[in-house]
C-alpha cells in the first residue's frame, strides 16, 4: 500500500504566558491509501491537535514548531512528488481542504447550524468546493444522503428534526461531498449510544470500501478501534507510544500504557478478570519531560527510563512483518507487559 499522508516529526506548541504547551512532540505517523488508522489516547493527549495541526486548522496561539506533512494524493501530485502541507499558502490549502482531506468534526450537534436546513448546509459545502450548476449540486446533495442511508426527503429537515445518529451521518455525508482521499474523523461517535455507534461505524467501513478513501479515526475508545482500525497509534502526552496493527496491539501490546488501556475495559469473551485502571494523572505539557512521559504512572519505570529518546522502534520478539509494530518503550518487552496484574 502506498502512503498517502505522511506526518513526519510534527511538533505543535501552544504559546502561552506560562511557557509553551507542547501538545504534540515529534510525532511520525503514516496513513496508507485505503487504510483506517486509529489514533487513540486520553483527553488532552494531543490527538485532535495532531490532526488539526497536520491540516493547519489550528488558530493562534498554536504554532507548528517542527516537522513536515507530505500528502500524496492522486489528483494533485503530478509524477508522484508529494506536496508539503506545511509550506502551503491560502490558495493551495483551499485546494487541498475538502477535495483531498476532509474532516468530520467532533459532536454533530454543534457542527450543524441549527437555523439552516440540512440541504442548505450540504449545498454550501458543495458550492464552496465544487463548481456545479444548481440542479446538479442539489442532485449531488441527495446522492450524498443516499450514501449515508438517510432518505432524500430529509433534505429539507432542520438539524433538530434529526436524531443524533442522523446528524452525525449528515456530517459524514458533507465530508464526502468532494470525494476526498483522506477523511479525518474526530470522535464522530462519542455522543452516541453503542447501537447507533455500531451502525455508523459499519457505514464508514462500507463507504470506505466503495469510495476508497483512507480514514484517520480519532477516539479515546481503544476497544472501538480494535474492531474498526487496520492500524492503531496510541498517543500519550503529545507523543506516540506505540503503533501497530489492531491484532498486534490487542495480542501483544508492547508499551505499558497500551497495556493499561487494554486492562481498563472488559472483554466480552474470554475469562473474567479484574479491571485495572491506570493510576495517576497525565503530566503538565508545559514542563520538559525527560525521557518517557509515562514514568510517574508506570509500574515498570526504572532510572534508565529518563534516558529514553521516545522514538519508535520495532518490537523485539514476536513474529510478524518487520517494522509493522513499533513501540517507544525499549525497557519493557511485550511478554513482561502482558503478564496479568502488572499495573496495580
Amino acid at each position: 500500500m502506498a502512503p498517502i499522508l505522511e506526518i513526519d516529526d510534527l511538533s505543535v506548541a501552544y504559546r502561552s504566558a506560562g511557557g509553551d504547551v507542547h501538545a504534540v512532540e515529534h510525532v511520525n505517523l503514516t496513513l496508507n491509501a485505503g487504510e483506517v488508522v486509529g489514533l487513540c489516547g486520553e483527553s488532552g493527549s494531543g490527538k485532535s491537535t495532531l490532526a488539526y495541526g497536520a491540516t493547519r486548522l489550528l488558530r493562534p496561539p498554536a504554532l507548528i514548531t517542527s516537522g513536515s506533512v507530505r500528502y500524496r494524493g492522486r489528483r494533485i501530485t503530478h509524477g508522484g512528488d508529494p506536496v508539503d502541507v506545511l509550506t502551503m499558502n491560502h490558495k493551495e490549502l483551499a485546494r487541498i481542504r475538502w477535495h483531498e482531506v476532509a474532516i468530520v468534526f467532533q459532536s454533530a450537534m454543534n457542527a450543524l447550524n441549527p437555523v439552516l436546513r440540512v440541504q442548505d448546509q450540504i449545498l454550501d459545502a458543495i458550492t464552496a468546493h465544487l463548481k456545479l450548476p444548481k440542479h446538479e449540486a442539489r442532485e449531488k446533495a441527495a446522492t450524498l444522503l443516499d450514501l449515508v442511508g438517510i432518505p432524500r426527503s430529509r433534505l429539507r429537515a432542520f438539524p433538530h428534526e434529526l436524531s443524533g445518529g442522523m446528524r452525525q451521518r449528515v456530517m459524514i455525508a458533507m465530508a464526502l461531498a468532494a470525494d476526498p482521499e483522506v477523511v479525518i474523523m474526530d470522535e464522530p461517535t462519542t455522543a452516541l449510544d453503542v447501537v447507533v455507534q455500531r451502525d455508523i461505524l459499519a457505514q464508514i467501513v462500507e463507504l470506505k470500501e466503495t469510495l476508497g478513501f483512507s480514514v484517520l479515526f480519532i477516539t479515546h475508545d481503544l476497544s472501538l478501534l480494535l474492531e474498526l482500525a487496520d492500524r492503531i497509534a496510541v498517543m500519550y502526552a503529545g507523543r506516540l507510544l506505540e503503533t501497530g496493527s489492531a491484532s498486534a496491539i490487542m495480542r501483544e501490546a508492547a508499551h505499558p500504557y497500551t497495556q493499561g488501556l487494554l486492562h481498563s475495559f472488559p472483554s466480552l469473551h474470554g475469562p473474567r478478570r479484574e479491571l485495572v485502571g491506570i493510576p495517576g494523572t497525565p503530566p503538565d505539557l508545559r514542563d520538559t519531560l525527560p525521557g518517557c512521559p509515562f514514568i510517574p504512572r508506570c509500574s515498570f519505570s526504572i532510572p534508565a527510563c529518563t534516558e529514553v529518546d521516545m522514538s519508535l522502534a520495532p518490537v523485539t520478539g514476536p513474529p510478524g512483518p518487520p517494522g509493522s509494530h513499533l513501540t517507544a518503550c525499549p525497557i519493557v518487552t511485550p511478554e513482561e507487559a502482558s503478564q496479568e496484574g502488572v499495573l496495580s
Binding site: R59, P60, T87, N89, H90
Partner: protein, 332 residues
C-alpha cells in the same frame, strides 16, 4: 490588590486609555473647584482676553476666567451623568431581571411599561418638561433624564435574563432549594455583569450628551457652571462671531474627550467580559509575527526565515496577508 493589578494587566489597550482619560476627568471633577484660580462667576474688567499666563484659557465677555469655569463645570456635568447612570442602571436591572425571572403577569405588566416609555419621544419631552422645571436646577434634569433613559437597558437585560434563566445551572440551583433572590443575585447577575457595566457606561455617555445639549439650549439653571452652561453663555454672547475660540473650545473638547473615554471603556469592558471576543478579533502575535485568526496554523521555521519584524508588521496591515499570497507572513 494583586488581583486588581492582574485585571489591569489583562485589560485591552483601548480600555486602559479609556480608564486613564476618564480617571483624569474624575480627578478634575473632584479637585477642580478647589484648584480653580478664580471664582468662576467673578467679573473682572479684562473682557474677551485670549489665553495668557494670568488666564490660561482666557476670559469671557464679562471677564470671567474660563479655566475656572471649566474646572468647576466638569464636576457638575460628571456628577449629573454618574447620578443618572446609577439610577438608570439600578432601575433597568430591577425591571429587566424581575420581569424576565418572574414571567407571567409580572412580565406582561413590566414589559408594557417599558415599551410605553420606550416610545415616548425623548427630546421633545425633555424640552417641554425642563422648560417647565428649569429653575429647579440639576435635580430636575437628573430626574427627567433617568425617567427617559431606563427602558433601553431594561429590554436588553430582560432578554439576557430570559436566555440565562433557561440554562441548566439555574434549574439545578432551584432544585437544590435556593431562594429566588439568591438565584438572581448569586447565579444570574454575575453572568450579566459585563452587560450591566456596558449599559452603565452607555447611560453615562447618554446623560452627558443630553445634559450638555439641554444646557446649551438653556433648559437648565444657567447660573450654575457646567460644561453645558459654559457653551450656552459662549453661544449667547456670540463667542464664535467675536472669534473668541478659547471660550468654547475647552468645554467642547472636555465633552468630546469624556465621551471618547467612555466609548473606549465600553468596548474594552466588552472584550474583558468575553475573552473569546478578544481571541477572535484582530491578530495574535506568535513568534514576533502577527497572525490572523483565518490564517493557517503558522509554522515556526517559515516565520523565522521570512521577513524582518518590521517588514512583517507592515505587511500584516495589508488585507493580502490574510486573503491570498503567502501563508502567514512567510516567503514560500
Amino acid at each position: 490588590m494583586k488581583s486588581l493589578a492582574n485585571i489591569w494587566r489583562n485589560l485591552p489597550l483601548k480600555a486602559k486609555i479609556g480608564v486613564g482619560l476618564f480617571g483624569f476627568f474624575v480627578l478634575a471633577g473632584i479637585i477642580g473647584p478647589m484648584v480653580a484660580p478664580y471664582d468662576p462667576s467673578l467679573q473682572t474688567p479684562l473682557t474677551m482676553a485670549g489665553p495668557s499666563g494670568q488666564h490660561w484659557f482666557g476670559t469671557t465677555q464679562e471677564g470671567q476666567d474660563i479655566l475656572s469655569q471649566v474646572l468647576t463645570g466638569i464636576r457638575l456635568t460628571l456628577e449629573l451623568a454618574l447620578e443618572v447612570g446609577v439610577i438608570v442602571t439600578v432601575v433597568s436591572v430591577l425591571v429587566g431581571v424581575t420581569s424576565a425571572f418572574l414571567g407571567g403577569l409580572w412580565d406582561d405588566i413590566l414589559s408594557l411599561i417599558t415599551n410605553v416609555f420606550l416610545v415616548l419621544p425623548p427630546l421633545p419631552l425633555l424640552i417641554v418638561l425642563l422648560g417647565y422645571l428649569s429653575q429647579q436646577g440639576q435635580t430636575a434634569t437628573v430626574v427627567v433624564l433617568s425617567l427617559l433613559g431606563w427602558p433601553w437597558g431594561a429590554r436588553v437585560i430582560r432578554a439576557q435574563t430570559l436566555a440565562i434563566r433557561g440554562r441548566d445551572f439555574i434549574d439545578a440551583s432551584r432544585e437544590t432549594g435556593e431562594k429566588n433572590w439568591r438565584i438572581i443575585v448569586f447565579e444570574l447577575i454575575p453572568n450579566e455583569i459585563s452587560l450591566i457595566a456596558a449599559s452603565f457606561v452607555n447611560t453615562v455617555l447618554y446623560a452627558i450628551g443630553a445634559s450638555v445639549a439641554l444646557a446649551f439650549v438653556g433648559l437648565t439653571n444657567v447660573n450654575s457652571w457646567s460644561l453645558g452652561t459654559i457653551l450656552f453663555w459662549a453661544q449667547t454672547d456670540s463667542a464664535l462671531q467675536a472669534g473668541a475660540w478659547w471660550w468654547f473650545v475647552p468645554a467642547g473638547l472636555a465633552v468630546a474627550l469624556i465621551g471618547t473615554s467612555l466609548v473606549l471603556l465600553n468596548s474594552g469592558l466588552d472584550e474583558l467580559g468575553s475573552p473569546r471576543l478578544r481571541a477572535t478579533r484582530g491578530t495574535a502575535k506568535v513568534a514576533g509575527h502577527k497572525i490572523w485568526p483565518t490564517d493557517p496554523t503558522p509554522v515556526l521555521a517559515q516565520l523565522q526565515s521570512s521577513r524582518s519584524r518590521f517588514g512583517s508588521f507592515v505587511y500584516s496591515f495589508s488585507r493580502r496577508s490574510m486573503l491570498e499570497g503567502n501563508a502567514a507572513g512567510g516567503d514560500l
